[in-house]
Every structure is written in structure tokens, then in C-alpha cells.
Amino acid sequence: METLNYLMQGFEVALTPLNLGLALVGAFLGTIIGALPGLGPSNGVAILIPLAFSLRLPPASALIMLTSVYYGAMYGGRISSILLNIPGDEPALMTTLDGYPMAKQGKGGEALAISAVSSFVGGLIATFGLLLFAPLLAKFALFFGPAEYFVLFVLAFTTIGGISSKNQFKSLLAAALGLMISTIGLDPATGEPRYTLNHMELFEGINFLVAIVGLFAISEILFFLEESHAGKVTKVTVNKFKIKWAEMFKLTGTTLRSSVIGFIAGVLPGAGASLGSFMAYTVEKRLVDQEGTFGSGDPRGVAAPEAGNNAAAGGALVPMLTLGVPGSGTTAVLLAMLMSMNITPGPLLFKNHPDVVWGLIAALFIGNVMLLILNLPLVGLFAKLLMVPSHVLMPIVAIVGLIGIYSISHSPFDLFVMIAFGVGGWLLRKLEVPLVPVILGILLGQLMEDNLRRALNISNGDWSTLWGSPLCWGLWVMALGGLVMPFFLGKFFRAKALEPEPEIAD
């Protein structure tokens, strides 16, 4: 009952004309960003954070707009995987398996409609899940002391690579690199400058927005330059179609099952949307594919991964909001967004900023409905965006990224740092070192050190406090499990997932 009251308050926040408008703009922009080649949910949200920051939107409004962008980008990303067989991000990979064959049979429009409806159901169920489980987990998380938090951060870093991680050592190295970057600046406890090379500009540390936009946007441009699809423009058309609700109805079982699987995968640390769509597809194939039509354009093969991956995206918000520990690239970017507004997610978020949390949850409901309404009639228009040539798109990405950062601090120094991060990010991606742990390290470094410091203060410098409680023990076991599991399971998952391209977005 309490929850229902809060939710009503949330809707009051989300249903103001300004916030509704922002949700619509966000959903529209997000779909465009997702549909454009080379831009995924993480890049899209990353580029827009500095703007939301400089426009001085109130936190709830900014959050509503950017989550609409996030959801919209997930919708838009399906267009290229279905029509062109090019997955915009890793979770979209499973959608290409049946989506592209459908498009080849002249049923691309139907495939897109199925994907929109099942995404909607997946997102809706996940939002209900978030509504039920997030407050519970937040209450539980109140038992966490500094020691538990420190171990929780360790857990986040050992699992961020995901179960399908290629090389755990590279994920860990990336995390260490990010944490090292976070130690640049004045030490908050002693005021001692660390790694500043006596540059005044570095005393405040590296702004994580500068790092994120550099890592995502600038490195993406360098990637495009290298591949150099000079002047190649793909013709894309969507066939005229009418939604046959009777056929949609046949997909109900698949969609519901996949949504539940996806949500669970999303909540688990280190699993995320990739695993959500993968598990949903595999389970559904086992259960209902008697004739062996999966992989050759079966509508159920489109519905399952789509519902799974949108539900996982919602599920991933549970640990992010309640514990402050994101499990994927996009939730890491959403965390960055919250932190840029001086809101630290965690159990206290539900107490201190109920308007933000419940406004966000209400916005997820509204955004989902808006996206469905936008996407069914306008999908042909969005598909046309696939034809935007990269020599127009990439310069725009560069300029918007640079100007967004410039408008925060009006300092050319930040722009230099951002470009340096872009080049570094390109190098790391070339070496198949994942960027998400770097970002997570930059975001969480100070909190991690702070919690370690407080834990040691409480125990008078006795390090055994880090494994002093059963909760700590449990977290250590999970952290170790997350570190070791990919060595055994990784081969199995990768063989099934057809070796996805190295992608920064999750």
C-alpha cells in the first residue's frame, strides 16, 4: 500500500507538462540515436548528459528525459539489427537471428512491430519488478556497513565483465586503470595532492563526464575512420503492413516467459542485457521450437530476445538504484548521470530523494507507452535514418560531444583531456580491453576508498573487518565466483553466441 502511495506521488512528478514533454523528446531523440548506425544506448546517453547538466534541469526531469533516451535507443537499435543484420549493441545480436530472415522474406515491418510490442511487454514487466523488489532490496541494503560496501564494489568489478567475458585479466586491468584515474586530485581525507603533476587543473580530479564522453564518442569516431565505409549508403525500406493482433496474441506465452527470465538476468550482478536476451532465446528455443523454425524467421525468435533484453534493462536498474552498483555499460552511464546531479544512488536514495526514485519509475511506465505509440506508426520514418551517411553523423557526434563538455566548464583543458581519453579508449578497444570497467572505476573510485577508510576507522585499522561479517563473506564468495566462472562458462557461452564483435555498449 505504501508503495502504491509513493507511485501515485511519482506519477504526479512525471505527469507535469514539462516532464511529459521531456519524456516525449527523450523517447523521440533516443529512438533516432538508437536507429543511427554506430550509436547505441550508452553513447547516446553519454553524449546527452553534459547537456542535461548545463541546461540545469531539476534532477527528476533530467532523469526522466535521459531514461526515455535510454529506452528509446533500445527500441531504435532493433531497426538496424532486423533490417540490415547489423546489431547496434551486444544484446541486439540475438534479435538478428530471426529478425533478419523475416526482413528478407519481406516481413520486416511485422518483425519490427513484434519487436516493439514485446519490448513494451518486457519493459512493463520489468518496471513492475523494479517497483516490487527495489524497495525490499533498499531496506536490506540498510544493513550494509562500510566494510560490506567495500566488498560490494569489489564484487561489481569482478563481475562487470559478465559471464561471457573473454579475458578476465583484461577486465580487471581496465578496472584498476579506471580506479587509478579516480585517485587523481586532492585526497579528500588528508588534502594531499595525488598524481596531479602539479597542474592546478588536475587538483579537482578528472571530471567523469569528460572521461565518459571522450571514451565513448571520440573513440567511436576513430573507429569509423578506420573502417572508412566511404560513401557507402544502404537503401532501406520497410514494407507496408498491418498488425495482426491474433498473431501477436500467439506470442503471449513466449513474451511473458522471456520477460521474467530477462528481469532475473538483469538483477543478477554481471549478467546484464546480453545474457537476458541470450537466455530468453535459448530457453524459448528449447521449449517451443518443435519444428526447428528458429533461426529462419520465426516470430517467436524475435519476441523472445526483445522481451528478454528490455526486461533485463529494467532489472539492471534494481541494483543500480538500491546499491549504487551498476551491472552494465548503460547503467554505468545512468549512474554517471545521477552522480553529475549530486545524487548518490544507494539505499538512502529511497529515503532522501523519493521524488527522484518514484518519478523515475513512473517515467519508465510513461516512456514505455510513448515509445510503443511512437514506434508502431513511425517505424518507417526511423528506418530511413539508417541511410544517414557517416560523414554527416560522425562530425555531429564529435561537435555535440565537445560542445557539451565545453558548456559545463568553459575550459579548453577539459576538451584536451576528453580527446586524450578518446585516443586511449580507441587503443584499449583495439586491444579488446573493455571500457565499461574503466568508466565504473572512475565513477566508483572515491566511494570505494572512502568506504575502505571508514571501515578501517571503525575497526581501528584492523583489516580483518573486511571479512568480519557473514554478509561480507557472502559477497566475497560471489565476487570470487564472478571472477572464476567465466573461465569455465565463457567458452560455452561464446560458442553459442557466435562471437560478438567487440562492442562498448551493453
Binding site: L51, L55, N167, F169, K170, L172, L173, A175, A176, L177, L179, M180, T183, D187, A189, T190, G191, E192, R194, Y195, I218, I221, L222, F224, L225, E226, S228, H229, A230, G231, K232, P389, S390, H391, V392, M394, P395, I396, A398, I399, L402, I403, Y406, S407, P412, L415, F416, I419, G422, V423, K430, L431, E432, V433, E449, L452, R453, L456, N457, G461
Partner: protein, 144 residues
């Protein structure tokens, strides 16, 4: 090979990072952690993982050929120049030049690249400076 070189460089970084941490002044407050301990931990993690890469590298990475590499250097140089000259040149001029070079290197003909540059520059200026009221530097044009 790339992984080995990268591992070696990261090992050097870990060493330099840890070495630097030695000199941090713990101050007079009683803080059981101090400013150096956390960096020591990080240096340790990085040293171990870098050593692993050095000894057991993955399959070699594919690096672009010299022609592409040169292009990328050019683009990075243009971006750096943009960052440095944005305030002096002003947003509109700097953006026209940068977008033109970027678009040209991304495969557009020079004419289309110039048109894209002008279009993007004016559109972004209109959107940011006028519609969203985020002031952009006027630079040279402002001084005329």
C-alpha cells in the same frame, strides 16, 4: 605482440604509480588508511594483471595500415586544434572547418564536406545558442 607491449607498459605504469604513492604525506590526522594504501592496492592489481598479459597474450590485434593511421592522426590533430582555438576563432568558424575536415576524411567529396560543415555549424549554433540558451563563444565573428 600488442598484448605483450601493452602489458609491459601497464607494468611500468603500475610501478611508477606505486612508487609515486610512497611520497604522499599522511598528514597529522590519525587515519588508519592514509593517502598511499589505496594506490598501493591498485598498483598491485594492475601489476598482476599486466604481468599475466605479458606472459600469456591473446591473439594479436589488427592495427590499421599506415594510410589510415595517418588519417586518424590528422583527425586527432584537427580535434585538438578545435579545442585550442574554439574560443579565439569562435564556434561557427571553428566548427565549419572541423566538420569539413572530418566529413572529408570520412569519405565525402570536398564540396559535400564543406556544405555539411556549414549546415552542421549553423544548425548546432541555432539549437544550442538560440533555442537552448547555452552561450557558445562568438570569437572572431563577435569582434567584427
Amino acid at each position: 605482440m600488442s598484448d605483450r607491449i601493452f602489458g609491459f607498459l601497464m607494468l611500468l605504469l603500475a610501478a611508477a604509480y606505486t612508487w609515486t604513492a610512497r611520497g604522499f604525506d599522511p598528514g597529522f590526522m590519525s587515519d588508519p588508511l592514509g593517502p598511499s594504501t589505496f594506490p598501493y592496492l591498485l598498483g598491485g592489481v594492475m601489476a598482476v594483471t599486466a604481468l599475466y598479459l605479458l606472459l600469456r597474450p591473446d591473439a594479436p590485434a589488427h592495427w590499421p595500415d599506415p594510410r589510415h593511421l595517418l588519417q586518424m592522426l590528422l583527425v586527432v590533430a584537427v580535434l585538438l586544434a578545435y579545442a585550442g582555438l574554439l574560443e579565439w576563432l569562435g564556434f561557427i568558424i571553428a566548427t565549419i572547418v572541423t566538420v569539413t575536415v572530418l566529413g572529408w576524411r570520412l569519405g565525402a567529396s570536398l564540396k559535400i564536406a564543406v556544405l555539411t560543415g556549414i549546415g552542421v555549424s549553423l544548425a548546432v549554433y541555432g539549437l544550442f545558442d538560440m533555442l537552448l540558451e547555452l552561450p557558445l563563444p562568438a570569437g572572431l565573428l563577435g569582434r567584427i
